[in-house]
Symmetry: C2
Subunit: 84 residues, 2 copies
Amino acid sequence: MFLAKIYVTYKPSILDPKGETVKDALQRMEYTGIEDVVMGKYFEIKLSSSDATSAAKEVESFSEKLLINVNMEVFRYEIEAITE
Amino acid sequence: MFLAKIYVTYKPSILDPKGETVKDALQRMEYTGIEDVVMGKYFEIKLSSSDATSAAKEVESFSEKLLINVNMEVFRYEIEAITE
């Protein structure tokens, strides 16, 4: 069994309105040292793949097909073997 | 300058409807080996803190006050020093 951790963020050229809103809110609170905020999505997906290579292939395939908007977003991922 | 990566997920006892929806969609596509899907939020926040300890304190403070719903969600984070 494998656990994939997938991180989805906007491309740098795309405006991130949620991140900007969080940044403004933090700066209005007592947090003065906030330089930049990016807000994205995070997935933890358990796969019953036979090996890490096929797990990585599945993750790349379904991330592009379902999890992200390829025009606006990018993703990166990590895969680790788990026991249960 | 420090970069905090913050991961927010529902507590295990809380229903994760978005994760369930993604899981169902993946299983209806050709991905048969999907065992479980958790969907959460992901933040990358740049802080101009003087050291990693004060950056960690800030992150813990504003995560609980603004980023998460402490009744339903948990967070974990990593902090790394960055140059720009």
